[in-house]
């Protein structure tokens, strides 16, 4: 590399126009050293004691391996981050960005788009009440209002995505109103950690959150035995219990409500069936290309 014949002096921060200063900043210049905002910590490296240990790093690598392109692993990786911290923190964003070689801004843009990524620490449980039109008309709005009042303090109802109790502690509950949860035949519904509690009333919902607040884990109408938000987030990331009994108990958790099979049952009772299939229905003849 040839020496520049006329090296301009090292630029100093100040009021001069950018074009009068940046030109001189070649690779000889330590821009970190001359940055005026260094003291405020803008250029600080992320914290050394990351909450994401080697096991989480291994899981993140595993996720990347499941996709033809690494960035596809971002959504599951953010679920993984929530399984550690109970929300997506700035550290979580940094972690994903590093794993996927993305900028933090790119990761933040994704985090803020999706409602399931919480920006504040969630409780032990997340209670989501459907307040879309059909559930609302059948009592969902009333259930949400009642829970907000019931979980609130000093006459102030609990707000959307606010926590009753201390996040991270047993019995803490984040409340949210949710859009259609795709269980309209079982309205009004709510979910705890994304497990369904069907056909709720104000009273049953209050009983349910009281039980959660006491540290109990009532069985959902449909879904696995109730766990907590963090362990459910691990499943959403794509990691299921390794122990066979726990795995089977989760998978075999109930899914069939009376409503689910109403049509099939009615048909069976009345002897109604689809037309019977022919013994042999050959595939159509076409010329292979």
């Amino acid at each position: 590399m040839t020496e520049h014949p006329e090296v301009t002096p090292t630029p100093r921060p100040g009021s001069r126009l950018a074009e009068q200063t940046h030109a001189a900043a070649d690779d000889q210049v330590d821009v970190m050293a001359i940055s005026p905002v260094r003291e405020e910590g803008m250029l600080e490296e992320s914290t050394a004691d990351s909450p994401f240990g080697p096991d989480i790093v291994a899981k993140a690598k595993d996720l990347i391996g499941r996709y033809p392109q690494s960035r596809s692993a971002l959504l599951p990786m953010l679920h993984l981050v929530q399984s550690v911290q109970g929300f997506v923190s700035q550290e979580g964003i940094t972690f994903c960005a590093e794993q996927l070689d993305l900028s933090e801004a790119e990761v933040s843009a994704v985090v803020t788009f999706y409602t399931m990524y919480k920006r504040k620490p969630c409780g032990e449980h997340l209670v989501s009440v459907c307040t879309n039109t059909l559930c609302a008309a059948l009592g969902g709005d009333a259930i949400y209002r009642r829970l907000a009042e019931h979980l609130g303090e000093d006459g102030r109802p609990l707000g959307h995505e606010e926590v009753a109790g201390t996040p991270g502690e047993r019995g803490s509950v984040m409340l949210e109103h949710a859009e259609c949860l795709a269980a309209c035949d079982l309205a009004p519904v709510l979910q705890v950690n994304y497990e369904y509690f069907d056909k709720q009333t104000e009273e049953s919902a209050v009983e349910l959150v009281d039980a959660l607040r006491r540290g109990e884990k009532p069985q959902p109408s449909r879904g696995a035995p109730l766990a907590d938000f963090k362990s459910v987030e691990l499943q959403l990331a794509g990691f299921f219990p390794e122990e066979e009994d726990a795995y089977r108990a989760d998978v075999d958790g109930p899914s069939r409500a009376v409503e689910t099979v109403r049509g099939a049952q009615l048909a069976a009772d009345r002897g109604w069936t689809a037309p019977s299939m022919p013994d042999d229905a050959p595939l159509p003849e076409v010329e292979a290309k």
């Binding site: 960035r71 307040t131 049509g263 037309p275």
Partner: protein, 433 residues
């Protein structure tokens, strides 16, 4: 067609204990169709699905066989099959029970469809809130790998297929197929400009087909029964059985699988009529994005043509039934708040339009509306419909325009009340101490 009022095909296995396990599935004719399919050629399968007239069950009703035929014949780039399991259209609740009860029917359908489209990697994009489905699908995929039905050289056919179950993270817009692809690529779920269509440049810019769960789960039955069997159900242009999800003010809400073309009158008979005998006021034929129907429409055949001719759409056959106790402006306001929340923000008509529509409707429902608000609503709707980037905007105006069309008096009454109240309560602004 002389079929029974209910024709359980997809929902039949749901009655069996532990229907989600591979052992149950195989006892009930499961994993027979894919053997037959793999013995044939991709062209034969595409032709079969065309002959059967299977139309997309995710709302739009596009012929599935035609969609498959858009995939290139060559394999210069990898081909992808993506299953849209992001069920979130208000009122829609068919795919989630299907995936919980009979996940293997979807997986067998994926094997056949992937083979027909020369795809070796299939993604099932499941709505994140549908956790129990995700579990069941993962367990089913694992069982299918163990049985040699997935992976390399499936049952010695030389065909390879991997299936990845992918959880979403809470965004209605990801049900739009190109937004779903962006989301699957690890981005904000915002729709893409079309063309290029996914068959030309979809996931990772490679040829991709996105199909709904119910569509793909129908495929093994068509392979086994043939196109003529499938066409014995439903109508000429809308053949086959369909899961009607009936919810709301009826005696026995639930999932009823009937031939396409069944009417609401017939469905109400099956589900025991209106709850407590309170009369029907309005209903959606296929989710909140399909314009409302009223008691006038009890005999509209609920197939793609019938619903469209009567001024709505078949959508997802999510039949939400509301009785006389429900205020139409209130229901429309609630739906509009939903669309406002779920608008992805990419295009101006939808982002700004839903924002203002929700506020105007909230004002009306609170009793502070004026008659001009009705015109304002219609005017804003006119600027969203057909002018937004994807179908979310079109869906957002459906409840409003149809609500005003059939129930204008109710909107007017709200404004009338507001005017009378204002006339009797003297204006106090500035008069207080």
């Amino acid at each position: 067609m002389n079929t029974d009022p209910l024709t359980p095909v997809l929902t039949k296995r749901w009655l069996s204990p532990q229907s989600w396990r591979i052992s149950t599935y195989e006892k009930l004719e499961g994993y027979t169709a894919f053997r037959k399919a793999l013995a044939g050629t991709p062209e034969q399968l595409v032709q079969l699905i065309k002959d059967a007239g299977l139309r997309g069950r995710g709302g739009a009703g596009f012929p599935a066989g035609v969609k498959w035929s858009f995939m290139p014949q060559n394999e210069e780039k990898p081909h992808y099959l993506v299953i849209n399991a992001d069920e979130g259209e208000p009122g829609t609740c068919k795919d989630i029970p299907l995936m919980m009860a009979d996940p293997h029917s979807l997986i067998e359908g994926c094997i056949i469809a992937a083979y027909a489209m020369r795809s070796h990697h299939c993604f099932i994009y499941v709505r994140g809130e549908a956790l129990h489905c995700i579990r069941r699908l993962n367990a089913a995929v694992r069982e299918a790998y163990d049985a040699g039905y997935l992976g390399r050289n499936i049952i010695g056919s030389g065909f390879d297929l991997d299936i990845t179950v992918h959880a979403g993270a809470g965004a209605y817009i990801c049900g739009e197929e190109t937004a779903l692809l962006d989301s699957l690529e690890g981005r904000r779920g915002q729709p893409r400009l079309k063309p290029p269509f996914p068959a030309a440049a979809g996931l990772y810019a490679a040829p991709t087909t996105v199909n709904n769960v119910e569509t793909i789960a129908s495929v093994p039955f068509i392979v086994n029964g043939g196109a003529d069997w499938f066409r014995q159900m439903g109508t000429e242009k809308s053949p086959g059985p369909k899961i009607y999800s009936i919810s709301g003010h009826v005696e026995r809400p639930g999932q009823y699988e009937a031939p396409l073309g069944t009417t609401l009158r017939e469905l109400l008979e099956l589900c025991g009529g209106m709850k407590d005998g309170i009369p029907l006021k309005f209903w959606t034929p296929g989710g909140s994005s399909t314009p409302l129907f009223t008691a006038e429409h009890l005999d509209v055949p609920l197939d793609f043509e019938g619903a469209a001719e009567a001024g709505s759409m078949l959508g997802t056959t999510a039949v939400q039934v509301f009785n006389e106790t429900v205020s139409v402006p209130w229901a429309v306001m609630k739906w509009t708040q939903f669309y406002e929340h779920e608008s992805c923000g990419k295009c101006t008509p939808c982002r700004e339009g839903t924002y203002w529509l929700a506020q105007v409707l909230e004002r009306m429902v609170e009793g502070r509306g004026t008659e001009e608000d009705i015109d304002t609503l219609l005017d804003v709707c006119d600027n969203i419909l057909g002018r937004s980037f994807c179908a979310l905007g079109d869906g957002a105006v459906s409840p409003i325009t149809s609500g005003i069309k059939y129930f204008r008096d109710e909107f007017l009454a709200l404004c009338q009340d507001a005017r009378e109240r204002n006339a009797t309560v003297p204006e106090l602004v500035g008069a207080q101490q």
